[in-house]
């Protein structure tokens, strides 16, 4: 089976500062990948590059065999990549329903019925059917993050990129989000909102080792090591990092 | 009288706010004519670029109406003044015209000093069949853009040029450089003056357009060809004229060259500054009493006393300088209305044609009602012709150096009504 995503020698320089250097990574279909690393290692930057928000200085980026490195940002979403950024992203002045509709209608602007059906399903998926008319600015932080997940799913992506989706969210809600990711990745290809792949950045190592099939460890802009959760723990740098963040 | 108008509109406003839509219905609508006062509307520049003129126009119209009411009104009817501020802006001026006619029930409207406002109001005069007396000087107002309801008793740009160019050629010189405002008024003035000049064998050495609102006249005045120019003609208005004159002086252009300005150049300005000294310009009426011709002196005295202008051309109360070239126009227009209404026995709309007939071709002599002197309104295009003066700044004061008769300004009508 071909790789869903493949990056080769990806690098990024901003104002002469190297943020990422020569990162190689593959994501097989159906795979969940966690990305770890200390602050400033370039985790979020990597995700933003994959989401098209930033343009790499060097290297190439292929999605399902298509070269994406020269494409404008919006086409990443159209080609099946969704991205949940580090900060809550819903439009604060719009209602939950409008946010979902806005995310869901992109490919089918004028088929109101199908959009409406999708919005209903999404609201149900995140258990917000009763809150559709609430303006986002009145939601709790956890609810906003959950809404972020639903909005990311609305375009029915192949690949989801999530930047610390559970940080700052209460344990229960965080668990729900993790479970939802797991379900969607493991679900049948024909289920609505099925995910073909997931890359997430997370500080909480419990979540990482629980959710990920494979884990990559970034340090100082380089992908130091990548492997299964079991194998990666043994690696020197990772072990040191883990011991330093015992109580994360 | 003024207070009454103001309080009505304020009450009007409060009613609409307070009790909603219906209550105003009682105040709207056009009055019936039976014994009601005759209403004269005035479009006036109280704010904006020509506010200095508006201050005097209101005083002038008000004084004329007060005087006529003391004398028993017009054809036995009391005269009422209604006015509105155009903000020197055609859009607002057009709304004022609507309000004066439709809400205040003006039977006549005396126009604005601003040509744009006048042009915007001309179609409304026709639409509502209300005689309109514009003051703005754009030639087209009594030309292709005019209509039979429009009467201008004062000079147009073309009349000023026609009347003045000869004197300038004979007395100041035949080789001119013109510095002018690069927008409608300046452009049409420069066309008129220079075409009369060249037709009479004079020479236009240079034509220097200056955009509106220029602070720095240096580069423009630097273009003046000093060796070949006799007369520097300045066609600028208000702040621009002031800035230009000061720089002319600073750059030493006043030495060895005569400077001549159009009517707007020093109108209502204090001319007691070095750059203005020696400047010649045209005016419709002397600023100071001493310069008024002997036969008009007694009328001038009464006129000034009524409006509130001192013999030095200033408001005795606050020292504001009068726009002497124009402030007589509202006063005289009120009297033109009186003359025409009394002579034709006008009562209301159905007598309109008779009124128009008696205004067209009307001839008046110098009198208290027409202190500026003899003049006539031509039948063909409803343009008025009167005498004009050449004035010069001498020792910080404007003094008259020549008087030009009405015939000098007469030109072929641009179009016939």
């Amino acid at each position: 089976m071909s790789d869903l995503l493949s990056i080769r020698g990806l690098g990024l320089k901003i104002d002469g500062k190297e943020i990422l250097r020569g990162v190689d990574m593959e994501l097989a279909s159906g795979e969940i990948k966690g990305v770890m690393g200390p602050n400033g290692a370039g985790k979020s930057t990597l995700l933003r590059l994959l989401a098209g928000e930033l343009q790499p200085t060097t290297g190439e980026l292929t999605l399902c065999g298509q070269d994406m490195s020269e494409r404008p940002e919006r086409e990443f979403s159209r080609d099946g990549i969704s991205y949940i950024s580090q900060r809550p992203g819903p439009f604060r002045d719009l209602t939950v329903e409008e946010n979902l509709r806005g995310a869901a209608q992109r490919g089918s602007l004028f088929s109101r019925k199908s959009v409406r059906g999708k919005v209903d399903r999404l609201a149900k998926l995140i258990d917000m059917e009763r809150k559709t008319d609430v303006v986002v600015s009145e939601l709790s932080y956890g609810e906003m993050r959950t809404l972020d997940v639903a909005m990311a799913l609305a375009s029915e992506p192949l690949l989801l990129l999530a930047d610390e989706p559970t940080a700052g969210v209460s344990g229960g809600v965080a668990g729900d989000i993790v479970d939802l990711f797991k379900d969607l990745c493991e679900s049948n290809r024909n289920t609505p909102f099925h995910l073909d792949g997931l890359i997430f950045v997370e500080h909480d190592k419990g979540t990482v080792f629980n959710l990920a099939d494979r884990v990559g460890f970034l340090h100082d802009g380089r992908l130091v090591v990548e492997g299964t959760p079991e194998s990666i723990r043994q690696h020197g740098v990772v072990a040191q990092y883990l011991s330093e963040h015992e109580f994360d | 009288m003024n207070d009454k108008i103001e309080s009505i509109s304020r009450r009007n406003f409060l009613k609409l706010l307070g009790s909603g839509v219906a209550s105003v219905a009682l105040l709207g609508g056009r009055k019936s004519y039976a014994k009601s006062p005759l209403t004269i509307g005035l479009q006036v520049e109280m704010t904006g670029g020509l506010a200095t003129y508006g201050y005097w126009h209101l005083k002038s119209a008000r004084a004329a109406i007060e005087k006529i009411n003391e004398e028993g009104g017009i054809a036995g009817r009391e005269v009422k003044l209604v006015y509105g501020d155009t903000e020197t802006n055609p859009a607002v001026g057009s709304r004022v015209m609507n309000r004066l006619i439709l809400r205040e029930g003006a039977d006549f409207v005396i126009g604005s000093q601003h040509s744009g406002v006048c042009l915007a109001s001309v179609p409304l005069a026709k639409r509502f069949s209300v005689p309109y007396f514009p003051i703005g000087e754009a030639t087209e107002i009594t030309g292709p853009q005019g209509n039979k309801y429009v009467f201008r008793s004062n000079y147009s740009v073309k009349a000023h040029a026609k009347s003045g160019y000869r004197w300038v050629m004979d007395n100041l010189g035949t080789d001119w450089t013109v510095v002018y405002a690069d927008y409608a008024m300046g452009q049409s003035a420069v066309t008129e003056w220079s075409s009369y000049l060249t037709a009479a064998g004079g020479k236009l050495v240079g034509k220097i357009p200056v955009p509106q609102g220029t602070d720095d006249f240096g580069p423009y005045l630097k273009k003046v060809d000093r060796g070949r120019t006799d007369v520097l003609v300045i066609i600028l208005y208000g702040p621009d004229a002031l800035a230009c004159l000061r720089r002319t002086h600073e750059m030493g252009l006043t030495e060895g060259m005569k400077v001549f300005g159009n009517t707007g150049s020093v109108e209502a300005l204090d001319v007691d500054f070095p750059g203005a000294e020696g400047l010649y310009s045209v005016t419709n009426y002397p600023r100071r009493s001493v310069d008024v011709p002997e036969e008009l002196k007694s009328f001038d005295r009464e006129f000034r006393a009524s409006v509130g202008v001192g013999p030095d051309g200033r408001d005795p109360e606050n020292g504001k300088i009068v726009d002497s070239s124009h402030y007589w126009v509202p006063w005289e227009n009120v009297h033109f209305i009186r003359d025409a209404v009394s002579s034709c026995g006008w009562q209301g709309d159905r007598d309109m044609n008779r009124l128009i007939d008696s205004l067209a071709g009307i001839v008046v002599r110098g009198s208290t009602g027409h202190p500026q002197g003899s003049k006539y309104i031509r039948t063909l295009d409803h343009q008025g012709f009167h005498s004009q003066y050449i004035q010069q700044v001498q020792d910080g004061e404007l003094s008259i150096v020549a008087q030009l008769p009405p015939e000098d300004g007469e030109y072929e009508p641009l179009s016939v009504l």
Binding site: - | T47, P211, K222, R246, L253
Partner: protein
Amino acid sequence: MELVSQILFGLLNGVIWGISLALISSGLNVIFGLLGIVNVAHGSFYMMGAFLAWFLSLRLGTFWPALLLVPAIVGFLGILAEFLLKPVEKDHSLSVLGTFGVTLALQGTALVLWGGAPKRLTSPIQASFSLFGTGYSYYRILAAGVSIVALISLWFILERTNFGLKLRAVREDADLSVASGIPVPWIYSLGFGLGAALAGLSGTLVAPMVSITPEMGLRIFAVVFLIVIAGGLGRVWNAVTFAIAFSVVRGLLTTFFDPTSGLIATFILVLVFLLFRPNPVTSRR
């Protein structure tokens, strides 16, 4: 020969006017470039400066005290305006609206207090000298000199004083500034006041050279904004260079072409520059 003298005159005259423009632009550069507040009212501070200079000169019988008094008064007006608009100063759209309100209020006040008729202030120095065959007033040279002194002082304040350091740091990292004990709201107020005072000084200096009207602020503010943006936000010397370049180019274009077309051409040039210049915010040092 005549042409050469015209060009030389145009160049020098352009530089002299450009320095006044540079002074008012530098004021906006502090407010907009450094603090990031979109201050549409900047032209009105300039207008107020000119009116106050005229008013004080008539009252005091001499021009010179205005050079100190007017910037102080206008600077205070600036602080007052900033204080009012503090809640919205971070939002570009709302601060455009708010400062536009300030513009209307100031312009209206000038109109009510002093009327719409153009005011003229007699130049405190009447003498002039001959420049390429035409007279040129010493006052213009003096005004340019005072402007240069003010610009150097501004540079000194920004680069060499503690206040300047804070002023430059406050927008870069507001959190950090708080942490290091700088009273951020005060930096904003004083910075705004400093910018307004510079506009006031510029207004004072040009007062004896122009016709003073309530509209003079609106006429200049778009140009000032263009200069600050084109020169790069927050860069004092770039804005100065641009102001002079703009003034010279405009002078030459309007001299040798039909002036309104020249004005149009200048605006189009600046507009193109504005649209296609790489984003000055990210290219900041």
